[in-house]
Amino acid sequence: MFGAGGGTSSYREIETAELIVLWGSNARETHPIFFHHVLKGVRNGARLIVIDPRRTSSARWADLWLGLEVGSDIALANGIAHEIIHAGLAREDFVRRATAGFDDYRRCVEAYPAERAEQLTGIPAGVIREVALAYARAARAQICWTLGITEHHNAVDNVLALINLALLTGHVGREGSGLNPLRGQNNVQGGGDMGAIPNRLPGFQDVEDVELRAPFEAAWDCVIPPRRGLHLSQMFDAMERGELTSLYVVGENPAESEADQHRALRLLGGLQHLVVQDIFLTRTCQLADVVLPATASWCEGEGTVTNSERRVQRVRKAVEPPPGARDDLEIVAQLAGRLGRPWGYGSAEKVWAELRGLSPMHRGMTYPRLEALDGIQWPCPSEDHPGTPTLHTRLWAEPRGGPPAPFSEVEHEPPVDELTPDFPIRLTTGRRLDSFNTGVQSSRYASPLRRGESIDLHPEDATRLGVAEGDRVRVVSRRGALEAPVRLDPGLRPGLAFMTLHFPDEVPTNVLTIDAYDPKSGTAEFKATAIRVEPLAEPATT
C-alpha cells in the first residue's frame, strides 16, 4: 500500500495492540502461527473484533463478531468511516499532513450512513457505530485481512476501503497501529518482492517505469518488455482467445485451484505445450507435456523466504533431495542456458548478491547480517540499517517524508453471481485448519481433525430442504454441479453455505465457483457463488 506491497506492522505489534480487527480472515485456522500473536494480544488485553460472514473458530475468540453479508465489506467500511467522521473522531492533523483526497473521500462515504450500511451489510447500525468508535478511539489498532477481502471481483477496492479507515484515524505508520494482509504461504510476500508478479521487477519496482527498468537492463544485458505481463486470470482469458499456447507452471496447481474448474481443465488441456515444475505429481502435472521434478525449497535447498511482516529469513539445506529432483534455481538457470542465456549463477547467495545490487529495499541485507539478526524486515537500504519493523513512519515525520498517502473513493458493488430463486443460497469457500489448499501437500498426512469435504449448511436451511447431517446432496451453480455430504454448522446463517477446496478428487468445489475476477489484482471471486442445494432422493451408491 502507498507503493509498497507489504503489511505495515511487525507481529510483535499485534501483541501490544489495543484493538485487533480480523476482517475476512479465519486466522485461527488459516494462519495458526500468526494467530498465536493475536492470542498474545488478547491475553495482554486487546479487544478482538472479527468480521466474517461465518462465525468461524477465530470469531469464537472475538469480543465482537460481525456476520456481514458476503461481499458487503466496502459498505461496512464506508459506513464505519461515515460514523467516525460524524462523531468528530477523524484524526484531522494526520489527515491534513499525511494524506490526499480526503474531501472526495468524505463526499463518497457521506452516502453510507450507518442505517444504509445496515441495509447493505445486515449489521445493525448501532453495532457499526460501536465498531467505528472503538477503532477511532483505540490508542493502537490493527486491521488484518486475508482472502475474505481479496477473493472478490472488487478485491482491490475492498483493500482500499480498509486503507481508507487507517488513514482516517491515523492507524498506520505508528508503532502498534497498522494494516496487515496475512500471506497464505511462508513466502508469498517474498515471491512478490522478487518480481514474480506481472507488473513489478524485483524490489517491488514498477516494470513500466523506464528509469527503474534501466539498471536491470544494464545488469542483465537485455531489453526488458516495457509493459506489464498477464496475471493468472488474464492468462486463462488469453488461452481462451488462443493467444497463449504455452505455459510454464512452477509450484502451482491451477487445474484444481482455479475458479470454474471445468473451464480451467479445458483450457489447460488445450495448450500446445505445458511444462510443470513441482515437488509432487499434481493434477496439473498430469496434464503436462514435461514435468520437472523440483526439490522442496524449505529443507532441500538454500535461499531466503519473506514472511507477512516483511522479514527476510534464510533457508538452509537440511537434507539431500531424492534422486532426480533438482533445485528450482538450477532448473531455471539450465533452462536459460539452453535458451542461449547462460546466467552463471553458482549459488543462491550469488543471486541474492545481484538482487541487493538492484533492489534498494534489500540492499543492506547480506547473508551474514540475515544470519546475525534472525532475519531483517524490509526496507533495509544499507548495511548499517537495522531494518524496518513499522512501515510508513514517514507519514508521521516532521516534515512528512515522500508523497502523501491517497484516500480512495470506493463504492459498494454486490457479488457478480446474483442470488435468484433458482440459485437462492450464497456459497462461500475457505479453508480448514488441518488441510492446505488443494491438499497437494496435506492430503498425504492423516489428521485427527480431518473429516473430508462437505457442504456446510445452517440447520434451518437443512430442515427446509429436508436433509440431515451426513445426507448427500447435489449442489448446483450456474457453472457446474457436484455431490457432497451435508454438515450442519450453526455458525452459519440461513441462506449461507460453506465449502473448502481441500479435496478436489472427492468434491471438486471449484466446478461451482465463478471466475469473475478483479481486473486490478486478477483474483477470482471464490468467496461468492450462487447455488441451490437439491436433496438426493436415494442415498448415493458410491
Binding site: 472475538a62 463478531w65 460481525l66 445493525p124 446463517r493
Partner: protein
C-alpha cells in the same frame, strides 16, 4: 476459544440452573455475537454455577460440563477438573438426599465412633464439620427445586435422627444448632463481646451495640490512621501463620497496580477449629464492617468473603447482613457517604481443606482448581486475579475492630476447646494463659476421664502430652517450644481413645485433602498413611525401626519440598505422636 465437546447435552433444568448464575444464554449465531472477554471474564462464576447445578440437580453431568464449557469458553476438561476437585460436588449421579457425618478427631474424642459404627455405609463420612463443641455432627443436604432443598448442619446428632433424615424426616431448622459460647455473660470479653450475646439481625441493633463506630472513625481519619492503629496493636494473623496484619495491609495500600482486593478467608477447615464459625454466625455485621475497613485501608473497592460450604447458617446470616448493610449504605457505591466505594461478594467453598490456603482460595474464587500457587509473588503483590490482595482470617478482622475501638495491643485470642472436657466451646483468653488453665476454664476433663494428649493447632498442629500442660498459649512461647498455636484448636483426648487411630485419621485427612499438585505431598501423604497402617497393624515392612526411619524421611521431604503449608505440616502431628510413642 477452541472447545472440543463430548456431544453430551445439558437438560433444560441444568441450563436454567447455570443461567441463574451466568445470566441468560447469549445468542450464538445471527449477525452479531458478543463473547470473548465478556465470556472469559465470567470464569470466576464457575464455582457458583457448579453449586447451582449441585443444588438443583444433585450432580454435575457431562452435559452440564459441556454446557459450561461453551458458556465460559473453557475446555470441558478444565470444568471437569474443577468440579471433581471438591468433596461437595458430585460428578456421578447420587441420591438427592446426602448425609455427611463427621468422623474426624474432635467428634471421635466426643464419642462419634459409636454413632459411625451404627450408621455404616448409609452416610458419607466427612472430615471436620467445625461443630466440634457439640459432639457428633452431620451435614444434611437435599438437591432439587428450591422448595425441596435442604442444607443444614445438625449437632449433636444421634443415629436415630440420621436414620430419620434418610427416611425422609425433615431435619431441624438451620438456627436450631446455634448456641452462645460458654463465656456468655462473663465480663471483659473483647473478641466475643457481641458473639456471646443475642444474635444481631439489623443494622440499627448493630449500631446500638457500638457497631460501625470503627468504620466511621476510619473513614474520618484515613487509611494511614487505620494502619497505625493496627500496627500499634501488634496484631498478627489469627489464621495460623501469625503474619503482622499492618504490614500486609500497608503493602497492598502502596502497591501501584489496580484494582486491589480485600478478601476474608472464612474457609475454616482445620480439624477441631470452629472459632470463625461462631464469629460468622453470631457477629456477621462485625466481620463485614471490618472487611470494609480492610478495604478502605488497602485501597480496595471489592471484597470477597469465602466461607466454607459446611457452614450453611453462617452463610445465611452473612448474606442477610450484607444485604442489610447495602440497604443502609454501609456497603456499595458510597460507604457511609461519598468517597469510598466498597462491596462484598459472598463465595461458597465446596469442601476442600486446601482452599483455606490463601492462594488456593484465590484460585477457587477465580473458578480454577483450588491448588496453591508458588510464592513469591505474595498476595500483597499478586493475589486474587493477579492483583494486590489483602487476605485475612475472620478472627483477625474482628480483632482489628477491637484494636480500633479501644487501642492498645491485641492481647486476647480465641481457642476452640473440644473433646473430653465438660464445657467445650470457643474461649477468649489472654495470650500467655497456660494450656492447663484453658482446659480448666472449659470445666476440666469430664468426670472419670484422664488426659492422654491434646491436639494443639488441629491436624496441622502437634500432639502434646500431659507433661506440657504448663505451656503458655502465646505465639512466642509456642514457637520457643517448637509448637504452633495454629488455628487455636485444642482437642482434648482422654485415655479411652486409641491414639494410633487418631494419628491414622490425621494421616488419612492429609491424604484425602492433598490437592495432588506437587509430588512430595501427593506421594508423601499416601506413603505416610500406608506406613502408619503397617506399623499399627503390627506388620511393618522390615523392622519397626525401618518404618519409623521411612516415616521420618517422608516427613522431611514433605516439610522441605512441598509448595504450601498443607504438605509442609502434613507430618507434624504424626511425628509428634511417634516421638511420644517411640
Amino acid at each position: 476459544m477452541d472447545v472440543k465437546l463430548s456431544g453430551a447435552t445439558a437438560s433444560d433444568v441444568e441450563r436454567a440452573a447455570v443461567a441463574t448464575v451466568l445470566g441468560p444464554e447469549p445468542p450464538q449465531a445471527g449477525r452479531v455475537v458478543r463473547a470473548g472477554r465478556a465470556q472469559r471474564e465470567q470464569r470466576h462464576l464457575l464455582l457458583p454455577a457448579l453449586h447451582a447445578l449441585q443444588d438443583g440437580v444433585g450432580w454435575v453431568s457431562r452435559g452440564a460440563v459441556d454446557h459450561l464449557a461453551e458458556r465460559l469458553g473453557v475446555a470441558p476438561a478444565e470444568i471437569y477438573g474443577v468440579a471433581s476437585f471438591y468433596h461437595l460436588l458430585a460428578t456421578e449421579p447420587q441420591p438427592a438426599l446426602a448425609v455427611h457425618v463427621c468422623d474426624d478427631v474432635a467428634c471421635r474424642a466426643a464419642g462419634a465412633g459409636a454413632l459411625l459404627g451404627q450408621l455404616g455405609e448409609a452416610v458419607q463420612r466427612s472430615a471436620c464439620l467445625g461443630l466440634c463443641d457439640r459432639g457428633s455432627a452431620a451435614l444434611v443436604r437435599r438437591s432439587g427445586p428450591p422448595a425441596e432443598r435442604i442444607d443444614v448442619a445438625v449437632a449433636p446428632v444421634t443415629a436415630l435422627q440420621v436414620a430419620g433424615f434418610l427416611g425422609g424426616e425433615a431435619p431441624p431448622e438451620l438456627a436450631a444448632a446455634d448456641i452462645p459460647p460458654p463465656q456468655a455473660g462473663k465480663p471483659g470479653l473483647r473478641l466475643l463481646r457481641r458473639a456471646a450475646g443475642e444474635v444481631i439481625t439489623t443494622v440499627d441493633d448493630y449500631e446500638a451495640a457500638g457497631g460501625l463506630a470503627a468504620l466511621r472513625r476510619a473513614l474520618e481519619q484515613g487509611p494511614d490512621w487505620v494502619l497505625a492503629e493496627v500496627k500499634a496493636a501488634a496484631l498478627v494473623g489469627r489464621g495460623g501463620a501469625a503474619f503482622p496484619t499492618a504490614r500486609k495491609w500497608e503493602a497492598v495500600l502502596r502497591a501501584p497496580s489496580r484494582p486491589h482486593y480485600a478478601v476474608c478467608n472464612a474457609d475454616e477447615s482445620e480439624t477441631g477449629t470452629f472459632k470463625d464459625r461462631v464469629l460468622l454466625e453470631r457477629d456477621a455485621f462485625a466481620v463485614l464492617e471490618s472487611l470494609a475497613i480492610a478495604g478502605f485501608a488497602t485501597g480496595s473497592e471489592h471484597g470477597f468473603l469465602y466461607v466454607r460450604d459446611e457452614y450453611p447458617l453462617a452463610r445465611a446470616r452473612l448474606q442477610a447482613a450484607i444485604e442489610a448493610l447495602r440497604q443502609a449504605g454501609w456497603l456499595g457505591a458510597a460507604v457511609g457517604g461519598p468517597g469510598f466505594a466498597f462491596d462484598v461478594e459472598l463465595r461458597r467453598g465446596a469442601g476442600a481443606y486446601i482452599c483455606g490456603e490463601e492462594t488456593a482460595l484465590f484460585n477457587s474464587i477465580e473458578g480454577r482448581r483450588g491448588e496453591p500457587r508458588n510464592k513469591p509473588p505474595f498476595p500483597v503483590e499478586s493475589g486474587l486475579f493477579g492483583q494486590p490482595t489483602a487476605v485475612n482470617n475472620v478472627e483477625t478482622l474482628v480483632a482489628v475492630l477491637e484494636a480500633l475501638r479501644v487501642g492498645g495491643s491485641a492481647s486476647t485470642k480465641l481457642f476452640c476447646v473440644s473433646g473430653a472436657v465438660v464445657r467445650p466451646g470457643v474461649y477468649e483468653v489472654e495470650l500467655g494463659t497456660t494450656l492447663q488453665a484453658l482446659i480448666e476454664l472449659a470445666g476440666g476433663l469430664q468426670p472419670g476421664r484422664r488426659l492422654q494428649a491434646v491436639l494443639l493447632g488441629g491436624a496441622a498442629g502437634s500432639l502434646v502430652g500431659p507433661s506440657r500442660l504448663d505451656l503458655e498459649l502465646s505465639f512466642e512461647a509456642a514457637r520457643a517450644a517448637g509448637l504452633s498455636l495454629g488455628s487455636g484448636a485444642v482437642v482434648v483426648l482422654d485415655e479411652s481413645l486409641d491414639l494410633s487411630e487418631v494419628v491414622l485419621r490425621i494421616a488419612r485427612f492429609f491424604r484425602e485433602e492433598s490437592c495432588g499438585q506437587c509430588v512430595p505431598c501427593r506421594v508423601g501423604t499416601v506413603r505416610q498413611e500406608e506406613a502408619l497402617r503397617r506399623l499399627f497393624s503390627g506388620r511393618p515392612l522390615g523392622s519397626r525401626e525401618d518404618e519409623l526411619v521411612r516415616l521420618s524421611d517422608v516427613a522431611e521431604v514433605m516439610r522441605d519440598a512441598s509448595i504450601c503449608g498443607l504438605g509442609q505440616t502434613a507430618a507434624i502431628a504424626v511425628q509428634s505422636a511417634l516421638r511420644g510413642l517411640s
